[in-house]
Symmetry: C2
Subunit: 228 residues, 2 copies
């Protein structure tokens, strides 16, 4: 489902450039459960943003489901991002003056095959699933850090995307809550959904079938975990 | 240095109230290294905000260094917060259109005993200490999540406060970088600085001398770790 070929990402800030990804080659099959690890600043979020169609490569190619993302029109690109991919941002990116429920409903407005009457119940179910049944009407600044993180997770799941990209989804969660979230990802993966999650915790990464480790913008290692 | 007596915190949202802390009693001595754990939503950040003079109790008393915080004027309260306490926020709270260096210099403007000519070098040193020597002139949206977290940490250390309160300071950091940060806290603690850190990772918590666990706004347990 994912093919990166010689993917490079360079950020330019005035006259300095930061090479965040350097000629990365990567293949991920449909239905895999992959973890991405690496030290702070090694390029994980940059990689995820490219895979999630939130940012483009500076050079190289990204094929998603066989299509070269470069050849897509702006509309097609946005369509893929909204319909095929559920993205959990490292910084949550929730809308501030908007309740948890409204935040989770948002992706549903982009989907054309879901009945408007179902938005509310789909969003409610996603929030119940991440343990936020009694926080639905709270706005983000009235939620704890881990609750905000879980709203971001619920939002990524709500329109049942083909692929879930989660950037440090358990960084603000205690162990028990993290395992609840992981078992949600495992369940979705068992239904055929491709899951890629960035984590800095080895105990979380071992739930994946494969661990890719980045360092300074390159893939340092790519190992099966022996867990499917 | 810290005494909480029957501290309660109630958040009111329209006609619902959330009891985030329920009659909490707590004593922390000067120079202790304490970890605070507990599940998402259990009241850790609420407790930290009260201890850090960022929020007040709804009822009960908070004595900081022997002084009842309720009896302080607004100016005295702000003074304590800016001079005695270094706070690392769970959500970083960095100023957006401001470089890492400028963000870290900010607390120095509140200190009256530090020479203005030293602001730049003190801030630079704090950033070098957290490994961000080559990111000083980046603004937050040009930094990785873990780099933003480290700017927030550097900012909390820069004016050598008597007490450091860190809310999930390693939530976005890989293991190696987390241990670097922890050894900074240990070093400061060895110099007599009181350190309180919220973490959801038991491996991080064991570096503290004492672990306080919250659940639903109460202290569930309070244990020495046998590590000093
Ligand atoms: N401003 C607010 N208004 C209403 N409720 C709030 C507010 N801030 C926090 N809460 C609620 O108070 C409870 C405690 O929040 P707190 O942020 O202290 O939790 P926490 O232990 O830090 O959680 P986490 O580990 O997820 O960061 C949560 O259930 C949260 O929903
Ligand atoms: N918009 C940007 N402009 C310039 N440099 C950037 C920008 N975004 C990221 N960087 C730099 O690119 C590098 C990779 O960033 P990235 O966010 O991918 O790291 P990461 O592996 O996700 O780190 P973390 O674990 O801390 O979240 C970092 O060194 C960062 O400073
Ligand atoms: Mg990142
Ligand atoms: Mg918190």
């Amino acid at each position: 489902i994912i093919k990166l070929r010689e993917a490079c990402k360079v950020y330019r800030l005035g006259d300095i450039s930061v090479e965040a990804l350097k000629k990365v080659d990567l293949d991920i099959d449909k239905g895999e459960f992959t973890a991405v690890m690496g030290s702070s600043g090694s390029g994980k979020s940059t990689l995820m943003n490219i895979l999630g169609c939130l940012d483009t490569v500076t050079s190289g190619d990204y094929f998603l489901d066989g299509q070269n993302v470069n050849s897509l029109s702006k509309d097609e690109y946005a369509e893929i991002r909204n319909k095929k991919i559920g993205f959990v941002f490292q910084g949550f990116n929730l809308l501030p003056r908007t309740t948890a429920l409204e935040n989770v409903e948002l992706p549903l407005f982009y989907s054309r095959h879901i009945n408007k009457n179902d938005y509310n119940s789909l969003a409610r179910n996603a929030l119940i699933r991440v343990g936020l049944e009694d926080r639905m009407h709270h706005e983000p600044n009235k939620l704890s850090g881990g609750q905000q993180q879980r709203v971001a997770i619920a939002r990524a799941l709500v329109n049942n995307p083909a692929m879930i990209l989660a950037d440090e989804p358990t960084g603000n969660l205690d162990t028990a809550t993290s395992l609840d979230i992981l078992s949600i990802f495992q369940e979705l993966n068992a239904q055929g959904i491709t899951v890629i999650l960035v984590t800095h915790e080895p105990d979380i990464a071992k739930y994946a079938g494969r661990i890719i480790t980045l360092r300074d913008g390159i893939i340092l290692s790519d190992e099966k975990t022996g867990d499917t």
